[in-house]
Symmetry: C2
Subunit: 201 residues, 2 copies
Amino acid sequence: MSKKIAGPEIERLVQLLARLPGLGPRSARKAALGLLKKRQELLVPLSDALKVAVEKIVECPQCGNLDTVSPCTICQDARRDQTLIVVVEEVGDLWALERAGVVNALYHVLGGHLSPLDGIGPEKLNIASLVERAAAPEVGEVLLALNATVEGQSTAHYVMDQLASANVTVSRLAQGVPIGGELDYLDEGTLAAAIKSRRRV
Amino acid sequence: MSKKIAGPEIERLVQLLARLPGLGPRSARKAALGLLKKRQELLVPLSDALKVAVEKIVECPQCGNLDTVSPCTICQDARRDQTLIVVVEEVGDLWALERAGVVNALYHVLGGHLSPLDGIGPEKLNIASLVERAAAPEVGEVLLALNATVEGQSTAHYVMDQLASANVTVSRLAQGVPIGGELDYLDEGTLAAAIKSRRRV
């Protein structure tokens, strides 16, 4: 909105919404209008939810997860396997694994991946705290569940080196054909990994 | 998130974000994480902006625009052509016209279009208030700037009928080839309209 139409308040709302991942200027305007049209059903509840988020949601000092309790619900859950730490890049990856319900262990969120060009070196990630946790006697395995991207894998290599002195097994996710995947649509790298790690049946 | 991961607060935030137009469950999770990662730069300001929106932004009782003052900035602007009322479906259409800066008049926001299947009859739209405004002696023209869709045009026809008794000129937007449009990519309806409304040069 180049001209002043409706005061700076709506404009500011649109600008902030446009900074959400996945929204551009146009969809931010639609989102703002959607909010203002559904005042009681959406605007008021979202305003309240954000207020709660500002006041209550904190990063877990132990694993880096986001939660309203500290340490987080997962770190406090004694029914989880305390011998296995699953290392992920972002909280979203932790959510993905929890949604899948495929592992019942503790997590460690690095907070991203190494990216020298963006100035993200090891000191910007939660690597030192991982090494510290891995040294605890109850921890037997650290599973590096990082993205299968160049950045994720080089971060995994760095973390692996750092864990060399800790007395733990270090593992990573298997690579290969995704379930439901059609060979014709898969890239060469995936096919090569699937061939290389082929298993006898 | 089917399993309880991080308390109900984050889950509620994701659910509300997913109801914004343009966001699905997946992008809502990304948006929620983006907010929680950029606490000071994004979460806090957006929380404040929504609080302001809840407390201050109201629908203009005269034209249906959204603003923090009532009547809205546009209705109060004496430099605008008070003889022309531009009728639009939604506030977003008003914004689009204001961004383009192509008309300096008053507006009237219907709040949607007629849609009998969705139970949206004339009484759900701001049509009665338009007829009332159009009857004022200073108003000389009502421009129906409704969408060039079937719903928009049938709404335009209905509004036109309602305005028949008012002593005003009723006009609508020209239809034809959009600027920069390539004939090869235009639909038959647009081409037919462009031919029918051709102008001598």
